[in-house]
Symmetry: C2
Subunit: 233 residues, 2 copies
């Protein structure tokens, strides 16, 4: 466990002793597909590291729909907001597949923070990343659904193959389309139409969860907000 933690950017500044102490306070939990890890409003008493599976972090909107905020992949931490006193989780977390998480109780972390200023810098850097992502999500909201989808596909493509992104690149959707719809702030029926539009315009090919990017340039254009009909000679 100590070695595993050491690999993570957030913990890399800690010494051997602190790492060992940290490791000894954690607990591991397995959750089945569809099971809730915590609910929005629950008392927040620590944060999580996902070691296996896939988790979604989401809010329930006033009209009862689920709005997904992030999908968490193995190796990522989430719910860091729990590091602060008296707070509750601002969103819920639920597994999309059989998953395994490591839990870090708040009390022990705070002790370590107080002794390791560098560690707090690492946590703050994590926050900054989060802010940026949220910012992006907010911008996305004002765009049409096909634009958001194009943006999502490009982000996924980049994540899956950071090098050599070019026409013909393949993207595998790692969650089902209903979940993607929730992340993009829409519903599966509308997302389905958006996929159809990008396909009919010749930008992508779709076959279940396998997507092939056929026209990267125009896809980028759509993602940046250009309406699908518009061409700019």
């Amino acid at each position: 466990m100590v070695d595993y933690l050491r690999q993570m950017p957030i913990f890399s500044a800690l010494g051997k002793d602190d790492l060992a102490r940290l490791a000894s306070t954690t607990s591991t939990r397995r959750i089945d597909k569809g099971e809730a890890l915590f609910h929005e409003g629950d008392e927040a008493d620590g944060f999580y590291l996902l070691t296996e599976g896939r988790i979604k972090v989401f809010k329930i909107t006033p009209d009862g729909r689920e709005q997904t905020l992030h999908f968490i992949s193995p190796g990522e931490t989430f719910a860091e907001v729990a590091l602060f006193s008296g707070s509750t989780y601002p969103a819920g977390a639920q597994s999309l597949e059989r998953s395994e998480v490591v839990f870090f109780p708040r009390a022990d972390l705070l002790e370590i923070v107080e002794k390791n200023p560098q560690f707090s810098l690492g946590i703050m850097a994590g926050f900054a990343r989060w802010v940026r992502q949220f910012n992006t999500l907010l911008s996305e909201y004002t765009k049409a659904v096909p634009s958001r989808l194009a943006g999502y596909l490009l982000a996924e493509a980049l994540r899956q193959q950071p090098t050599a992104l070019a026409d013909g690149a393949r993207v595998t959707l790692e969650v089902n389309k209903t979940e993607i719809a929730s992340l993009l702030g829409t519903i599966s029926a509308t997302l389905s139409r958006a996929f159809a539009q990008l396909r009919d315009a010749g930008l992508i090919e779709v076959s279940d969860r396998e997507i092939v990017i056929r026209d990267l340039a125009r896809l980028r254009d759509i993602a940046s907000g250009t309406a699908l009909g518009d061409s700019k000679h």
Copy 2:
């Protein structure tokens, strides 16, 4: 200046020496109405404290509209994201009136963070607050415009008179309606209709920037997502 800083929650954990050092590194800047403080994407080299006036923090959406993220009031800090290395401002800031800000350069702050773990906890708490606020903003986005407006009016009412919020409460809009429209993710024409709907339903009275809340219970109901037509006997 030292006394002024000490009042702020974020700085309250600092000792006299650090406060004095911090104060000596700051600079004050006056900006005219409409002037930009920084633009989205600028190199972020410090954060700001607003001492006078009013500032909006905003992004330009892909289709060219302004999306306001926050209005900053005197005594509030903003652009804290600048505390992290190699980052750029994720949004722009512009004054809505003649304003005065105090600038805290990053380099000096980082030194203080390293010596004062408690200080970093304060900054992190600030971030957590921010996350929550953003979270709220995201939820708001999925609601109809009259609901968002109702939520905004309630939040303003609460901010202006934390005690004794009841029917007959007065709210003064502190920015013009076009700016409010931008904060609520819409345009002035649509916001104008939303005001008219709340007025015609007998929930509020509107007279320029002075709003009177006539039916607090129903206004809360609308804000929480109930459609204006729906009644629940």
